[in-house]
Symmetry: C2
């Protein structure tokens, strides 16, 4: 009667390649419409966003703050303290790096299939 310790509800990252985990990490952060909306707003606005996000997106301030934290953790955005305000903007260098990783994944060529499909 073996005692098996199995982690569940948790991605087994150790059985995948660095590349696969990297892609999944980036994709995961885009996997919520609020974070997509935040990033789109940061791109749209000509300057850094200082607090507009809570009025722009109809979510409570702690919720927005949490999403910003995740984007910052991945390095996709930067935050600058300006008095009582914090200004956020895209980290262009890291965004480009992320883009290269995602493009390589999404742009895989579809070979001619033989048979079933």
């Amino acid at each position: 009667m073996k005692q098996l310790i199995v982690k569940m509800g948790l991605a087994k990252t150790e059985i995948f390649t660095e590349d696969q985990n990297q892609i999944a990490l980036f994709a995961k952060v885009f996997g919520h419409p609020a974070r997509v909306a935040i990033l789109q707003h940061l791109f749209k606005i000509d300057t850094c966003v200082c607090g507009d996000l809570v009025t722009e997106i109809k979510l409570a301030q702690p919720t927005i703050s949490q999403h910003l934290k995740e984007l910052k953790l991945l390095g996709l955005i930067k935050g600058n303290v300006e008095g009582t305000r914090v200004c956020y903007c895209i980290d262009s260098e890291n965004w480009t790096t992320m883009k290269e990783v995602m493009f390589q994944f999404l742009n895989q060529d579809i070979l001619e299939k033989q048979g079933c499909c």
Copy 2:
């Protein structure tokens, strides 16, 4: 004493645009390394994959089956029954559509910022 019914642990998709929800849906499915690995394998192999996936990826058969289901639900892969086996392959048409949506999001131009960042 107001009775507030608040949904939690659930994305409030209704406050976002179709586009934002669409991007998030696609990204979400790539947000797990197993699904990334499955897709990469489907691209790599010259023909349809019939059951190799469980030996290729070190996860239990029901787990792989579940991931395949999600990929199929989004239309990114197709499954053909072949006797006792099921052959999977990329749905190239839908993959291209997805790519266009994701590219438009990822390829946003970074404007020159004034000031803080």
